[in-house]
């Protein structure tokens, strides 16, 4: 696995965006750290490469804010893992962040639109 260094081919995840991604993944159903990390990579077609460790402080922060809740469960291959699920507050937060993100993306796209003489 390569770590992104240049940022040209594998962009660093924008600050604060990681939270939104985690919430989005969990919106699909509960998961533990490992599944979340891999889900982000898979769904971004391996463009977004996170250092998996950096997921955990983010999970801790989200849990502390009450957007996700956790429980110990058993993983697909029968190992103990800490599972996370989205709370009602988290669902609301996700929709807020998603719409904010969409506004930004739209704004950036507007700026980047080909110049018409």
């Amino acid at each position: 696995m390569r770590r992104s260094r240049t940022g040209a081919t594998e962009p660093e995840i924008l600050q604060g965006t990681l939270d939104m991604l985690i919430l989005q993944i969990l919106a699909l159903g509960p998961g533990h750290g490992h599944t979340i990390a891999h889900a982000i990579e898979r769904r971004s077609e391996d463009v977004l490469q996170v250092e998996h460790g950096s997921l955990y402080p983010a999970l801790h922060r989200l849990e502390d804010r009450g957007w996700i809740a956790s429980f110990w469960g058993t993983s697909e291959n029968n190992r103990k893992a800490r599972y996370y699920r989205l709370t009602t507050g988290g669902r609301k937060q996700l929709s807020e962040e998603t719409s904010r993100w969409e506004r930004i993306v739209r704004a950036v796209n507007l700026v980047l639109r080909p110049v018409v003489e």
């Binding site: 750290g33 998996h52 460790g53 955990y56 402080p57 922060r61 190992r79 103990k80 893992a81 800490r82």
Partner: protein, 888 residues
């Protein structure tokens, strides 16, 4: 910042560690499934994850509260350092504990006496109605009595300013008969007293308006402490099943108990039994000032408005209550009295008036002692800081921030201060109780609620924080201010410490010396003042005199037989073996109280104290009659009225002329018709009711001619036997012959000493703190001079090697100390002169700027200081130059 998270941060750390392990396991398993070897798989998983340690740290940091964590670290580091130098720790903590303890104890007492409000609902609404400027000694004045009952009734009926009013008075009464009698503090209250105070009963019920009635009333309420100690906490039954007591000759029924925190209206003297006012058969006396009138001012009224209303009511109220049988001038003065309203949230207290000034002064003194202790500590810290100079320099060079190092050094001071405070608070609990005990006269405990509450803790905390700032901040600033490079060089050998290095220590020493001078001057002033009082000649015999108060109102003697019965009691006492002589008097000397009549001699008019005595009084009290004669059995109820006066009387009323043959006339008062006395003798000036007071004009008249003998008498008994033996003998004799006579006895000398408790306390405490200050200053000076000598070891070694005489070295060090001493003493003397103004009123027989005292204090301190400096100086002179130069 979340405390919940903070408290559970370790648990979370464990939790996250497990989670991370779980990730690694799963990832490794996945990798193995993809065909990697186990080792490769584990390594790949770790690479994928990143640094688990950093992740855990990240999370831990999120959970923790940064400054708290670092303070905790600093404190642990400080504690380790203190453990390394236990000597320093013990000295530092002990001196702070003593300082903080003493301050807190004095504060507790001051708080209890002065600052605390009464334990009733909304005490701040309470206000008292008083005559502006007092009643000028008119009529009979009882303790805490500000107004008469007729005045109270008129005020209550006419006023608008108070939403509720009550009146109360206190006196000492007896329960039980004759020799079985016991004292109790009686609280007399108007019916609304408890209702207006908003008090709930602890047991039974409290007094209500309907309990007031014709004398004698039967309902009574006891205080919690009296209920516990005297009534054994028995059940207060109802409907005739209650506790009955014979109090003050009346049969009363205890109907309730007040809550434990309520002690009455007098701070320092708990009431025992509260009874309602009763209506006597005759009209209420208009000349007995026996009640204090208080109430709750209406919420929308200010004190000024209430006062204005009272002032407006005054003319009518006083016009309607003029006491009978006075001369027109007195009547006129009475009609011009004005009422005012004063805040009364703290109740009243004689203790407060007596000790207020002393306690503030003591707080100042203990504050100064603490300051000296702080200066000492600061010096110690400075010395330690320079010993750690290298360590600090290295840490600065390695990139520690100055702020972080400063915090760390301060944490050490804070630790010392905190431990000192904890010990000090414990010490204060003992000290404050010892103080209360020491201001309690014999057999009459002062009842003060010494509370360990947030006010006291807040005070101790503020004092501690100040302390910590004073002794901690400056050294910490100083040592973090150093330049690493030069500090590391200077820490090496061969350098002489720069002059400014010690300037701070010099400043501390000068402060210590000057403050010690102030405290020593204070100590000497109070000790000498107390000594003046103790050695004062009152002009009469003190030793061997027993004072007796005999009351016979419980016997059913007819009023006409009282004078005769009094003589009979005297003869019985005189007949007791060991009694050399005994005499009766209406006013026992040196025991407070006052008895005065208006007199006129020729054209001069004024007041003279009046005392009626039996013939042997002067002989018993060892007072010589310097002119004319004393009294004899020939002076009877029917013979010519005669008087013996003191020399002040002669000067004041007769212009120093030979008084024999002159007459004096008293102004009429109820029960005391105007009488003409012929002066037949003169005695020298003796103290009257207080050993401190100036001698007033005193007139003595024969007991046989006393116009208003009551069912009681005072007796002065002279004996070789100790007062305790005399007391026992008299009690036994009177108890056998007249079981219904109440007898109270005490030693005159003990009584005088009890009257000097305040002076004794000041002398003891000021003396103790003065000496403590001197010792602390000496230790400080010794420490600093030793330190300076140690730092200059190389230099001194070189001087000695180059041929300096040992005497020269001693001289050099002593000059150093001498300069500090001179500046400190001069400053201290100046400060003493300024501070002296505030203690003038507490001193007896000397002025606050007493030259001898100042010189003695300066001299004492100077000699201690010279000694403290000489020891290190001699050590310096004994240095072996070779070893000094080799020493690093």
């Amino acid at each position: 910042m979340s405390w919940r998270r903070f408290i559970r941060r370790r648990w979370w750390d464990q939790e996250r560690a497990r989670e991370i392990d779980a990730y690694l396991e799963i990832e490794t398993a996945d990798n193995v499934a993809r065909g990697m070897s186990l080792r490769e798989a584990a390594a790949a998983a770790r690479r994928k994850f990143g640094n688990p340690g950093l992740v855990r740290e990240d999370i831990y940091r999120m959970n923790t509260i940064g400054w708290l964590e670092s303070i905790w670290q600093d404190l642990r580091y400080g504690a380790r350092l203190l453990r390394l130098s236990p000597g320093f720790a013990v000295v530092a903590i002990a001196s702070l504990a003593l300082g903080i303890g003493a301050n807190t104890a004095i504060f507790q007492l001051l708080d209890a006496v002065r600052l605390r409000s009464l334990p009733v609902r909304n005490p701040q609404e309470l206000a008292e109605v008083k005559i502006v400027g007092g009643n000028h000694g008119m009529g009979l004045n009882q303790q805490y009595g500000e107004l008469t009952r007729p005045l109270w009734q008129l005020i209550r009926d006419k006023q608008q300013a108070f939403s509720g009013m009550f009146a109360w008075g206190v006196n000492q009464r007896y329960v039980g008969k004759g020799s079985q009698m016991r004292h109790f503090n009686q609280l007399l209250v108007s019916g609304d007293f408890f209702a207006v105070l908003g008090m709930r009963p602890w047991r039974g019920r409290l007094l209500i308006a309907e309990d007031e009635g014709a004398c004698p009333t039967s309902a009574a309420v006891v205080s919690y402490s009296y209920w516990q100690s005297e009534l054994g906490g028995r059940d207060i039954g109802s409907g005739g099943a209650g506790i009955k007591l014979e109090a003050d000759n009346d049969l009363v029924e205890i109907v309730g108990v007040t809550p434990p925190e309520f002690f009455g209206m007098v701070v320092g003297q708990s009431f025992d039994i509260a009874r309602p006012f009763c209506r006597p058969k005759d009209a209420l006396r208009r000349d007995i000032y026996e009640v204090s009138v208080m109430g709750r001012v209406r919420r929308d009224w200010s004190l000024q408005r209430a006062s204005a209303e009272m002032e407006a009511l005054s003319p009518g109220i006083f016009e309607a209550t003029v006491p009978p049988g006075r001369d027109p001038r007195t009547d006129e003065m009475y009609k011009h009295f004005r009422l005012g309203v004063y805040p009364a949230s703290g109740g009243v207290s004689a203790l407060r008036e007596t000790y207020d000034r002393s306690l503030w002064l003591l707080l100042g003194i203990t504050g100064l002692v603490l300051l000296i202790a702080c200066a000492n500590l600061a010096n110690l810290m400075l010395a330690r800081a320079s010993a750690r100079e290298r360590e600090i320099a290295v840490r600065l060079a390695l990139g520690a921030s100055r702020g972080r190092l400063f915090r760390q050094l301060l944490a050490e001071s804070g630790l010392v201060a905190g431990m000192g405070a904890a010990l000090g608070i414990a010490l204060a609990q003992i000290l404050s109780r010892a103080l209360v005990w020491s201001i309690s006269p014999e057999g009459e405990a002062v009842n003060l609620r010494i509370a360990t509450d947030w006010r006291m803790l807040l005070f101790a905390a503020v004092v501690t924080a100040l302390t910590c700032v004073v002794f901690g901040v400056v050294p910490a600033l100083r040592s973090t201010d150093s330049q690493p490079a030069s500090a590391m060089k200077a820490g090496g050998r061969g350098m002489t410490a720069g002059r400014e290095r010690f300037s701070l220590q010099r400043l501390m020493i000068v402060t210590q010396i000057s403050v010690s001078v102030v405290l020593l001057v204070g100590a000497l002033l109070f000790v000498r003042s107390f000594r003046n009082l103790m050695t004062l000649d009152p002009g009469m015999r003190e030793g061997g005199i027993t004072f007796a108060f005999l009351g016979f109102w419980q016997s059913d003697l007819a009023r006409e037989r009282w004078p005769e019965f009094q003589r009979q009691l005297l003869e019985e006492v005189q007949a007791i073996p060991g009694v050399l002589s005994a005499a009766t008097t209406t006013q026992a000397p040196l025991r407070g109280g006052s008895w005065e009549h208006s007199v006129r001699t020729g054209s001069i008019e004024g007041n003279s104290k009046f005392t009626w005595i039996s013939p042997d009084y002067f002989r018993t009290m060892g007072i010589p009659v310097v002119r004319g004669r004393g009294f004899s059995r020939d002076d009877t109820a029917t013979s010519q009225r005669v008087a013996v006066v003191n020399q002040t009387f002669v000067r004041r009323f007769l212009g120093g002329a030979d008084p024999l043959g002159h007459t004096l006339r008293t102004a009429p008062e109820p029960n005391y018709p105007s009488t003409v006395y012929e002066i037949v003798g003169v005695i020298p000036d003796t103290k009257y009711n207080d050993i401190r007071g100036e001698t007033p004009p005193i007139t003595f008249a024969p007991a046989s001619q006393f116009p208003a003998q009551g069912p009681w008498t005072n007796m002065m008994i002279y004996s070789n036997a100790p007062p305790a033996a005399v007391t026992a003998a008299v009690k036994q004799r009177i108890g056998e012959k007249h079981p219904d006579v109440i007898a109270e006895l005490g030693s005159l000398q003990q009584g005088i000493r009890d009257g000097l408790l305040q002076e004794q306390l000041m002398a003891m405490l000021a003396g103790f703190f003065g000496l403590l200050a001197a010792v602390l200053a000496m230790v400080g000076l010794y420490g600093v001079i030793s330190y300076i000598v140690a730092r200059r070891r190389n230099e001194i070694g070189i001087r000695l090697a180059l041929g300096a005489a040992r005497g020269q070295v001693i001289g050099m060090v002593m000059r150093e100390a001498g300069k500090l001493l001179v500046v400190g003493v001069a400053l201290g003397t100046a400060l003493s002169l300024i501070a002296g103004r505030s203690v003038g009123s507490l001193l007896f027989g000397l002025r606050p700027y007493d030259a001898f005292t100042l010189l003695a204090a300066d001299g004492l301190l100077a000699s201690i200081a010279v000694l403290a400096a000489f020891l290190p100086a001699r050590k310096a002179a004994k240095l072996d130059p070779m070893s000094a130069l080799r020493w690093e």
